[in-house]
Amino acid sequence: MSRKAPPGARGAGASTSNGTTSSAPALPTISTEDMCPVCKTIRYLNKDMEFLINPECYHSMCSNCVNRLFNDGPNQCPYAGCNRTLRRKGFRSAFFGDLAVEREVDIRRRVAAVFNQAEDDFETLRDYNNYLQMVEDLTFDLVSGGEAQRRTAEATLGRWEAEHKAEIERNRKAGREADEQSRRRLAAERDAARQRRVEALQEAEEEKRERVRNREAELDNLALGDAGAGAGGAQRVQLKRRGQAAANRAVEAAVHTAVAAAADVGRLSIRGLKEKKKAPAPEGPYDPFAGLDFVPGRYKLHTGLGHPGIDKYKDDPAHITGGYSFDEYTARAMFEAFAGLGVFIEDEMEAGIGLSAGEVATMSAGIAAVGDRMELD
């Protein structure tokens, strides 16, 4: 159960992984966090010491050093053996403590800007996964590959960018939109939550006040001699209010689906990438009946149609209960009376409206069956 001692220099870790000697700049470890490796100032002497790096070589130094060395124009990196020329405006503070990761992420940023296909762009999940691995391999070469590997990776990257320019641009836009949307959605949710919180507080507050008021009212009532009159009513009011507030709280988060504008570009060199189709025409609101009109064409329905057969039930409590309507009944009677009128089977067969004779037959049989049952009932 011997445990490997943790290697001291983590910075070099990334480059050892594929066994080639790396020409990527040797990176410092972060143990220098409290001392500037250039001027050797320690944090103890300068509380707000800030470290900056330049993505040219990722050598970190304190801001004082940066100002001292680079304010008068480009200069050489003060690290021994590092011959890069750095500019003042290239310096920034690092996001990660581990500068190897910082560098890796910078590279990823570049790669991600170019290889930005989404899963939907692929025929199958497997193709997408292969694509992901290809990108990852390429990134790996860029991050820790040897000189040759890096060069080929760069070349691939460049080529891809050139070949898929429009597509990349489109995906980028779609990505930005999606980001923007999710950001907006998050913000909306946060707002809604805050809103609800405030409401809940107010509600509690209101309830408390109500309670106090009720108690007072009750006392008053007691004083006046009719006890118990106030209490029940007040409680009911309170309960009702609570229910109402709950209903009000239903807040809806609008989610828009981005309609990606399609563009017809791209000689594909990745297997399984879907051919782009023209963007579908923007759709109207969804209509489940596909434009079918339910207003009867051959007659007009009046409300309150009567018939001696049904009139006697109009006052019958069994039939005026909720949910049952006499108009419903008359409407159906009218529908049944007119159903089938104006359907000319010969015409339809000539015009060939979808239905085959067999289908028509079964359909009419079905209608007959329904009709029968209705009569039986």
């Binding site: 159960m1 445990r3 490997k4 943790p6 290697p7 983590r10 870790g13 990334a14 050892t16 992984s17 594929n18 066994g19 996001f95 990660f96 403590g97 581990d98 990761v101 890796e104 992420v105 990823r108 940023r109 991600a112 999940l125 497997r126 997408y128 996964n129 292969n130 694509y131 992901l132 691995q133 290809m134 990108v135 990852e136 391999d137 790996f140 991050v143 980001d179 999710s182 950001r183 998050l186 949710e189 939550a193 609800r196 919180r197 809940a200 509690a204 709950a246 057969g309 049904i310 006697k312 039930y313 019958d316 069994a318 039939h319 209960t321 049952y324 209705m374 009932d377």
Partner: protein, 800 residues
């Protein structure tokens, strides 16, 4: 004794039974294959009642549904096993033959290990890890190839036995299992694990079902019609939540980084020595195959939290398929977390916002993140790592990654840079907290048809279905019937000087309140025989009040009557204090134990008979509401389940108070005083369990100290009278005779009811016909016919 419930013959191993419909309701639940929440006071034979009914049910009906009985602690598990053993013995005596029946208990390796050096490890994690490194599949392979590796002989011996008959039929207590294992040189832990499928009854801890990391491995093969029982389940929501929450610290991240580094080294080693294995793994991942052997592997190295099923079938994303890609992926994620930990202000954010930020800075997408835990498991297996404990922190990070990417709702990330508000030195902790108890328990409800949640104190019952999001068939709280009032609950709201007492924030440190509490303690110390237990709402308050009492000379006064012992957060110290307490209670010196309502003592330790004659609850044990995690949970409960903050807090406080009170009454011949000392208890009375509330007289809910003392004196005097078991008969216990009586009475009632129903049915057709005729269309006359009375019907008839 023997009796029938409906058609089901039940054998009950004791000649007496406590009255009540617990068994009937239980049967109803099982018949309906539904869920139930049942509250029955502890010490009334809840466990044996439950076992007797369910075993009878199993043996009588052909479906033979398996029972899975979950309890909290090892001692409770052992107790249940002993009860079960007695029950089965009784059944065998009665039936004249031994039934084909097997019951087993399962607990951690730490308790069941026999390996001479492994079992001596102190921490459970280390035992697990060491055992794994002795028993893993590849270790055995190596051994077979003749390499010199250490294996565990106890485990190897198991493979020589018939796989479905590792241990004979019968009930095996944990002790018995250990002994059998020692005799036959076979590992008790794996015996139990492997035999679970062939058992009629399994008794183990909650975690094997609720903790998704463990449940996946241990309880996967249990069939759908199992009967699940959670006993002592009043805290089940917290167990659920804890099983899905993690805390990440700077230290754990440092260790995780080291783990990632080790992984990388191992990968490089393996690439040189055994390239093929990596390649095989890679190909398997490309094909989207979960290792077919994984299911069989009883001991996959690390556990994955449960994932939605669709995800389980999907292939691992392409960018973490290769081992080296995955390691850099992990490293990037860890570095990101490290950076986040540097922030010096409190941050709370939802998983989606965390993911958005993560993606922006590291280009880590949600999907590979979700597969993190699984990918790590696969890698660890491929690399054949044996020192798993080194990778524990890494695994925690991976689990966190998976969870955060899987659940959008019901979780919150809270970063607290400082331990307390006053701390100067940052010690950041990233809490990934689960807010929704229903998430962890959902798979249980989805999978098993009957889940029974029961405890001595689980009021208000409707809170649990709400919080855990399930439906019940039966939801019942049983009253207790006693031959004498064997416990006296009282609420003290005022001190002797008539000033109200309370531990609410405004007044808790006022000298007058503290003094009143002090005199309450002194008075009860005077009159209580033997042991007395006092509960405080928190350690902090306990400390401050004790030091104030010290200054007022109250402790000296108490000291005259009782030894004073104090619970501390340290388990060792507390158990020592308990030891002393027990001795003092037994030898007549008497003692007071000062402890905390949410501490270890309040949960697991019984103070029966002389060990606890009075329990004094000082203050309502509310949770510390300033905690950010609690605040987040309250908000979540309000938004999702419409449970209001105050309702939940009060519910939570009262369940803990009830737990504390329940500590002293552990049986029918026991007696004790239950003193609730806070003005606020008066209003919360309704939230006490039914059996306590019922015993609380209206005259006893608003007492001052002196009134309470005199009432307690009277009570103790009656308790001092001789009390024979005979007196209880027919009232608080039923013999066969009483039971028959009761059943006859119930039958009579049933018959009457049936008759009434028949009559009603006779009337029914008339109604239907009448309505039909009236409607002209039967389907539309589908209203509530019962609402009609005869007269109206007649009128209708004549109408036609």
């Amino acid at each position: 004794m023997e009796f029938n419930i409906d058609d089901l013959p039940v054998l009950f191993p004791y000649p007496r039974i406590y009255p009540g419909s617990y068994m009937v309701d239980l049967k109803k639940t099982l018949d309906a294959t539904g869920n139930a929440v049942l509250e029955m006071p502890s010490g009334t034979g809840k466990t044996i009642t439950l076992l007797a009914l369910i075993v009878a049910y199993q043996q009588y009906y052909p479906s033979h549904r398996k029972l899975i009985y979950c309890s909290r602690t090892m001692s409770e598990i052992e107790k249940a096993l002993v009860e079960l053993k007695a029950l089965m013995k009784f059944r065998a005596d009665r039936l004249g033959y031994e039934e084909e029946f097997r019951g087993l208990g399962l607990t951690s390796r730490k308790n069941l290990c026999l390996h001479p050096s492994v079992k001596r490890e102190k921490s459970g994690n280390v035992v697990d890890a060491r055992c794994r490194s002795l028993t893993a599949g590849f270790v055995k392979e190596k051994k077979e190839k003749g390499e010199d590796v250490e294996v565990c002989v106890y485990h190897d011996n198991l493979d020589l036995l018939e796989p479905h008959n590792l241990i004979p039929n019968g009930i095996w207590t944990l002790d018995g299992l250990l002994r059998y294992g020692e005799q036959h040189k076979q590992c008790p832990y794996f015996t139990a694990r492997r035999m679970m499928q062939y058992c009629n009854v399994i008794i183990y801890s909650y975690h094997y079902l609720l903790d998704p990391k463990i449940a996946e491995r241990v309880s996967k093969d249990l069939s759908q019609d199992c009967i699940i029982v959670f006993d002592e389940a009043h805290n089940i929501d917290n167990v659920c939540i804890e099983s899905l929450s993690t805390d990440i610290t700077e230290d754990s991240l440092r260790k995780a980084t080291r783990g990632a580094q080790n992984l990388e080294n191992k990968i490089n080693e393996m690439r040189e020595s055994d390239q093929q294995k990596l390649q095989d793994e890679y190909e398997k991942l490309v094909e989207g195959l979960r290792g077919a052997d994984e299911g069989r592997q009883e001991d996959s190295f690390m556990a994955n939290p449960t994932l939605p099923d669709d995800l389980l079938k999907e292939a691992v994303p392409g960018n973490i398929r290769k081992a080296e890609h995955f390691v850099t992926f992990l490293r990037r994620f860890i570095e990101y977390l490290k950076t986040r930990m540097k922030v010096r202000q409190v941050i709370s954010e939802t998983p989606p916002s965390f993911l958005a930020h993560l993606k922006e800075y590291t280009f880590i997408e949600k999907k590979p993140l979700r597969f993190c835990a699984e990918r790590l498991t696969s890698l660890v297996r491929t690399l054949e790592l044996t020192n798993i404990e080194d990778y524990q922190p890494l695994q925690e990070v991976a689990t966190f990654a998976t969870l955060v990417a899987t659940y959008e709702k019901g979780f919150l990330l809270i970063l607290e840079p400082y331990e307390s508000d006053t701390a100067e030195v940052p010690n950041p902790v990233l809490h990934f907290t689960c807010l929704d108890a229903a998430i962890a328990i959902k798979p249980v409800f989805d999978r098993f048809s009957s889940v029974i949640i029961t405890s001595g104190t689980i009021s208000p019952l409707e809170m649990y279905p709400k919080m855990l999001d399930f439906q019940t068939v039966v939801q019942e709280s049983y009253a207790i019937t006693l031959a004498r009032r064997s416990f006296l609950p009282i609420v003290v709201t005022r001190g002797s000087d008539q000033a109200p007492i309370s531990t609410s924030f405004q007044v808790r440190n006022e000298p007058s309140v503290v003094r009143n509490y002090g005199s309450l303690l002194t008075e009860f110390a005077k009159i209580t025989p033997d042991g007395m237990v006092v509960f405080f709402p928190s350690y902090l308050y306990m400390e401050s009040i004790i030091s104030m009492w010290q200054g007022m000379g109250i402790l000296d006064e108490v000291w005259k009557y009782k030894l004073i012992l104090v619970e501390t957060p340290d388990a060792q110290e507390t158990s020592l204090a308990l030891e002393t307490y027990r001795t003092a209670c037994c030898n007549g010196r008497g003692a007071v134990l000062l402890c905390v309502a949410r501490g270890k003592v309040s949960e697991g330790i019984d103070f029966d008979h002389q060990y606890g004659r009075t329990v004094l609850c000082i203050g309502v044990p509310f949770q510390y509401t300033e905690s950010r995690i609690l605040k987040a949970r309250l908000e979540f409960l309000r938004e999702t389940y419409r449970i209001r903050e105050n309702d939940f807090l009060s519910f939570d406080a009262m369940r803990h108070a009830a737990q504390c009170l329940g500590r002293v009454l552990r049986g029918k011949d026991d007696y004790g005083l239950m003193v609730l000392a806070d003005r606020r208890f008066q209003k919360k009375r309704a939230q006490l369990p039914r059996w306590i509330n019922q015993a609380l007289l209206d005259t006893d809910v608003n007492l001052s100290t002196d009134m309470a003392v005199s009432s307690a004196r009277r009570f103790l005097k009656t308790m001092a009278q001789p009390f024979l078991a005979k007196d209880q008969e027919g009232i608080s216990t039923w013999s066969m005779e009483d039971l028959r009586h009761h059943q006859e009475k119930m039958d009579d009632e049933r018959i009457k009811e049936l008759q009434a129903q028949r009559e009603r049915e006779l009337n029914q057709p008339v109604v239907a016909r009448a309505a039909n005729a009236a409607g002209g269309d039967g389907r539309e006359s589908d209203y509530e016919m019962d609402d009609f009375d005869e007269a109206e019907l007649m009128a209708l008839d004549t109408n036609i």
